[in-house]
């Protein structure tokens, strides 16, 4: 249990310390150290959970099982590697005069604040606190989106704030409805929002209210996942904010919003007893996937390009969770992992690429592989991985999604396959000139730390070749929790 409190305590202290000293030269490294501490605590926690099964804190406020402990681990890992990248990156931004000391302090404090919100989302057992933490994540990141204070950045931040604020308000309404339904079960008392209790007694919830509640929850948290048609904040926020923030938004926030939806679905499925919640998720997922795939072709900004790719992958995951069943759920969990690793790696690389070319316009980024081979290769391999090339992990998870779809809804495999093909074409027509084109005169390499990128890509490659036993047991356990089917 102490590990849980430690995970939450570290970012709180980090927030305070970096809020005061975030402008110092060492701040980047301090940020890394705090994230490393959190990761260490996470590893301890994961080990305990894997060893002894789910743990529930005394006041029922925190609950850790196989599903969320793996996401906590992922969050801590991506948080750490992005922090490693962000130190030199932000220093570079300061040297170029885009940031001053105050904004740098704000940036580091909010980085820790965001991590805190994410850990709280993942560890809490209370649906209400889950909401509070999710809203807290919006509040922490919204000032980061407008960090550069350009009109575009302010606009993106405003859009993000308003859209996510309203969207998440709907999720709160769904939560209230859920609480309302729970209060009608005898002996619930104050546990009406406690997830573990709700899950146990889910079958007693009124199905009609549960259904309506789920619609609100899905639309509300779906706004944060970036599901079409509530997606319009996502590309803006990703493209206008500082790059490390794009990496953690794409790699963590979207995942955690999806986590909230899946947690709700687990309760609702028990109450409703049919596939309705899943069908709704499949609809949203499929639409998001297809729309994002088509929009990939029209992007001219490199970060917008990859944020649409994020929408595409979030759509795939939502779809897979919606399909339900052991295989699809396993695939979705794997996809969550590999996508968040690959995408954060790509955003880190893109950040360097943009600093090399001094622009985010795809047309002006040329010949990276000549100017700075490491960045060029990173972008190339990352894009290969995200497009679903074998032998990377994304290929495996997408393949599993396809197989699961083939088993349950065969005719839906066609649009999925088609979409993957279109996305592939969309990514590569932009990628090719950026990597191999002729570099413009006077393009100079920048100081870049590509170790986290290659670490992520290596893990993704490894997951594609063979999933280690520990991890597959872990996924298997999570799959059993979510879908009720034992896969392995």
């Amino acid at each position: 249990m102490i590990a849980v409190y430690l995970i939450l305590l570290v970012p709180i202290i980090g927030m305070g310390v970096l809020g005061l000293y975030g402008h110092r030269h060492r701040a980047g490294r301090t940020n890394v150290e705090f994230n490393a501490c959190a990761l260490a605590a996470t590893i301890v926690l994961a080990w305990i959970v894997l060893d002894r099964g789910p743990i529930l804190s005394g006041d029922k406020l925190f609950y850790i099982d196989a599903f969320n402990v793996y996401l906590i681990g992922l969050t801590a890992l991506v948080g750490l590697t992005t922090a490693i990248f962000s130190g030199p990156y932000m220093e570079n931004e300061r040297l170029h005069g885009r940031l001053n000391n105050r904004r740098l302090r704000l940036y580091y404090a909010m980085y820790q604040g965001f991590m805190l919100a994410m850990y709280l989302v993942l560890t809490t057992n209370n649906m209400g606190l889950l909401w509070v933490a999710m809203e807290g994540a919006t509040l922490a990141t919204v000032l980061l989106v407008s960090l550069y204070r350009t009109p575009e950045a302010v606009e993106a931040a405003w859009k993000y704030f308003i859209l996510c604020g309203v969207g998440i308000a709907l999720a709160l309404f769904g939560t209230i409805l859920l609480y309302f339904a729970a209060e009608h079960i005898n002996g619930m008392g104050a546990d009406g929002l406690t997830w573990s209790v709700l899950y146990e007694r889910g079958a007693e919830l009124d199905p009609t209210v549960a259904k309506i509640a789920f619609v609100f929850l899905l639309v509300g948290y779906g706004t944060k996942i970036g599901l079409v048609p509530m997606h319009s904040w996502l590309p803006d926020a990703h493209s206008e904010g500082p790059t490390p923030m794009s990496a953690i938004l794409s790699g963590l926030l979207l995942n955690d919003a999806l986590y909230a939806v899946v947690r709700s679905k687990m309760i609702i499925d028990r109450a409703v007893g049919t596939q309705q919640a899943g069908l709704l998720m499949m609809c949203f997922g499929m639409v998001s996937f297809l729309v994002a795939v088509l929009l990939l072709h029209r992007q001219r900004d490199i970060k917008r390009l990859f944020s649409y790719s994020s929408i595409e992958h979030m759509g795939t995951m939502t779809f897979a969770f919606g399909v339900g069943g052991g295989l699809a759920t396993f695939a979705a969990l794997l996809h969550m992992t590999v996508h968040s690793l690959t995408k954060s790696a790509i955003f880190v690389t893109v950040g360097h690429a943009a600093q090399i070319a001094k622009t985010q316009r795809i047309d002006n980024i040329r010949g990276l592989i000549n100017t700075q081979p490491m960045v060029g290769w990173g972008l190339l391999i990352g894009t290969l991985a995200i497009a679903g090339f074998p032998p990377f992990g994304v290929f495996v998870s997408e393949f599993l999604v396809l197989v699961a779809t083939m088993e349950t809804y065969p005719w839906l495999t066609l649009p999925l396959l088609l979409g993957i093909g279109i996305a592939f074409a969309g990514l590569f027509r932009h990628l090719h000139p950026m990597v191999y084109g002729t570099a413009p005169e006077g393009q100079k390499p920048v100081e870049a730390n590509m170790a986290p990128v290659f670490l992520h890509l290596l893990i993704v490659l490894w997951l594609g070749l063979s999933i280690p036993g520990v991890l597959s047991n872990w996924f298997g356990e999570a799959t059993r929790l979510i879908s009720g089917e034992r896969l392995l």
Partner: protein
């Protein structure tokens, strides 16, 4: 005259206050003057606190007094005061943010009330609470807040709309479940407070960047055509 029973008094008072809350939402929808808009919002916060007190008093839920106090301070005083201060400071206190086609807006608002009634109908059947019907009113308040945001151009009005949504959420929690658990309630209040402060920060950022608070002018980020 027969004596008024406590139960009937309760239902009637809560019903009356609920009607007034949704009415203030409509007033905001029709109102163009920013200061009046903010004042109606303050009134709504005050009514919300009052309804919470009534629920707490009649049904004896102690923790609702705290919620009522927080609502009164936060939504009845602090946020309206903050907005008023910002509006005066930015010289917008005589500014009018008119709704285009107010009559249409009102009719849409009325149909939203019908819609929320329709949505909550199956929920209401389940409940034995006296205030169960008011759930529809609270949901309508949420939708009306959204409508307010959609129909206007000024950032200030958007913020008021956002806060009306928050009011509607709190309202629905009070009437349907007699408030949320205290931890959650505190968390939500904290989020609202932080959001209000951030909105204030954003007013200045937006004005700095486009020299106005007209959010319709924030239109640089579009899907570019090839």
């Amino acid at each position: 005259m027969e004596p008024i029973e406590a139960g009937v008094f309760y239902t009637q008072t809560v019903g009356f206050l609920a009607a007034m809350i949704v009415f203030t939402a409509f007033v905001m929808l029709a109102q163009g003057k920013l200061i009046t808009l903010i004042n109606s919002f303050a009134l709504q916060g005050f009514l919300l606190a009052l309804i919470t007190v009534v629920v707490a008093k009649v049904l004896g839920y102690r923790h609702l007094y705290i919620s009522a106090g927080m609502t009164l301070v936060l939504k009845g005083m602090m946020i309206p005061w903050l907005l008023r201060y910002l509006v005066v400071r930015m010289g917008l206190h005589r500014h009018v943010d008119p709704a285009e086609r107010p009559v249409h807006l009102m009719l849409i608002g009325a149909s939203l009330v019908v819609f929320s009634y329709y949505v909550t109908l199956p929920i209401v059947r389940l409940s034995m609470l006296e205030t169960r019907n008011i759930l529809a009113v609270s949901m309508a308040t949420i939708f009306l807040g959204m409508l307010l945001m959609i129909s206007r151009r000024l950032a200030v009005t958007h913020v008021v709309g956002f806060m009306v949504i928050e009011n509607g959420l709190f309202f629905s929690a009070v009437v349907s479940t007699y408030g949320m658990p205290m931890v959650v309630e505190l968390g939500i209040a904290f989020d609202v407070l932080v959001a209000a402060v951030l909105f204030g920060v954003f007013f200045f950022q937006i004005r700095e960047s486009i020299d106005s608070l007209d959010v319709d002018k924030l239109n640089r980020l579009r899907e570019e055509q090839e």
